[in-house]
């Protein structure tokens, strides 16, 4: 087979093109969209220990979709420990088989009441529960209130204690302290003191 000059150029050109095509890395990275792009950010405080780490809740369409550490919070600067990192699971858990998110079935959403000496929990409404608490506080306070101790005016009750939560903010803590002092509660403490 005789090859002319023209054919030779054609052949070498084709071979070179083929080599380029075969040698090229055509793969490009796929597009990754961040699933939190449309979510609204709401800041909160981790409810677990007394450190009071800041966290961001990502909310989309009224539903909690993710929780992560708040990088702008002075205490944790974006970090969260294993308990804090699991905050989302208070609300949402993932199905073991389908990996689909579902509301945490173990979460309490109603007031449960167990009467003295009873072994059963009963469902009650909030109105009943709040009234009952107020009633018991009043009874206890009236029964144990001390006006004087050792010749000194004390105006206190030692039968009631109050423990604040690390998830409460400054203003809520202020109001709680005011309320408790007005009742005469002296056993007033806070988890963050631990």
């Amino acid at each position: 087979m005789q090859i002319t000059r023209r054919e030779f150029i054609k052949l070498t050109g084709t071979a070179a093109l083929a080599a380029v095509i075969a040698g090229c890395d055509w793969e490009t990275d796929p597009d990754f969209a961040l699933r939190l792009e449309k979510a609204r950010e709401v800041t909160t405080i981790c409810p677990y220990c007394s450190c009071g780490c800041g966290a961001i809740c990502y909310v989309e369409g009224g539903k909690l979709v993710s929780v992560s550490g708040d990088p702008e919070h002075p205490i944790n600067e974006g970090a969260l420990c294993s308990k804090g990192a699991s905050l989302l699971n208070l609300n949402t858990v993932y199905n073991y088989r389908s990996h689909a998110p579902e509301l945490n079935p173990n979460r309490l959403t109603k007031v449960l009441y167990r009467a003295p000496h009873s072994t059963q929990w009963e469902e009650r409404d909030w109105q009943w529960a709040l009234e009952r608490i107020a009633q018991r506080v009043k009874e206890t306070r009236d029964a144990t209130f001390e006006r004087e101790a050792g010749g000194v005016a004390v105006n206190r009750t030692t039968a009631i204690a109050h423990l604040g939560s690390a998830a409460l903010d400054n203003e809520e803590n202020y109001l709680l302290a005011k309320l408790m002092r007005s009742l005469g509660v002296v056993n007033l403490d806070h988890q963050a003191r631990l």
């Binding site: 052949l11 083929a18 993710s66 944790n76 294993s82 990192a85 073991y96 990996h99 998110p101």
Partner: protein
């Protein structure tokens, strides 16, 4: 440009924040676990547990902690063997797998020298650390790095972090950790997860001199040079026959003209 995660085991306090943050970000379910005499829980990686913390108690009564997950090897065996191209290496060095493409054949499971990939028997999809590609491609750190409270994990450019790591190893050696070393600098072409260790790697449960399984050479050839050779032959053959056909057609036309 490849990015890595630097794991300073000396700074790790084993809070397992990374383990939970991984599940949280990747929306993985929890599993029922059991105490088996070690704090490492679950005992191995699972289809829905892509990272876990390995606890080792030494003879001196000291604890060694190492976060274990996919190493994102430069010469990753799983990328080479995957027949569907579901596992691939992204430009930022992440060995990412496309769950939509995966058929759960398990070839990657056999090849991985770190025993990382797991097949979910319900969905028939391989599960392993995706390097939080969704986050890193959008300018965020991987979830485990972002949550680490003690600063044991760091994400960044390979060269920079390696320089930092070498300095840290020297610092540890000066502090009296004679056996302080770096793991992942050269293994499997360089790992995407580099460890700063105070003891030899084997004590942390990390394989010394990891190698892909023996059959990897076949897949490497089949998917590398052989595939290129095949495509080259195909393309050049097609071009050649096209040119032949065209030449014959022109000749035929000329013949017709002559006949007229």
């Amino acid at each position: 440009m490849a990015n890595i995660v630097l794991i300073d085991t000396r700074k790790c306090m084993a809070c397992r924040g990374c383990q939970v943050a991984c599940k949280d970000w990747n929306q993985l379910p929890a599993g029922v676990t059991k105490f088996r005499g070690t704090y490492t829980n679950p005992l191995t990686l699972q289809p829905h547990t892509w990272t876990h913390l390995v606890f080792t108690e030494t003879d001196q009564g000291r604890w060694l902690f190492a976060k274990y997950a996919c190493m994102h090897c430069t010469d990753a065996a799983c990328v080479e063997v995957c027949p569907l191209g579901a596992v691939r290496r992204l430009k930022n060095g992440t060995v990412w797998h496309d769950a939509d493409k995966c058929a759960g054949c398990g070839l990657c499971v056999e090849q991985c020298p770190f025993n990382v990939p797991r097949i979910n028997k319900f969905t028939r999809v391989m599960g392993k650390c995706t390097g939080c590609a969704e986050r890193t491609m959008n300018g965020l750190q991987p979830a485990c790095v972002a949550t680490c409270p003690s600063g044991a994990l760091e994400y960044g450019e390979r060269k920079e972090l390696l320089a930092k790591a070498r300095a840290r190893v020297e610092e540890l050696q000066e502090q009296g950790f004679d056996q302080a070393c770096l793991y992942g600098e050269t293994e499997m072409g360089g790992l995407g997860r580099v460890y700063i260790l105070t003891r030899p790697p084997a004590e942390y449960g990390l394989p010394e001199n990891p190698q892909p399984a023996a059959s990897a050479w076949f897949w490497r050839a089949a998917k590398g040079p052989l595939r290129k050779l095949a495509s080259l032959t195909l393309v050049s053959g097609a071009m050649f026959s096209l040119l032949r056909w065209r030449a014959e057609r022109i000749q035929g036309k000329r013949g017709d003209q002559k006949a007229v």
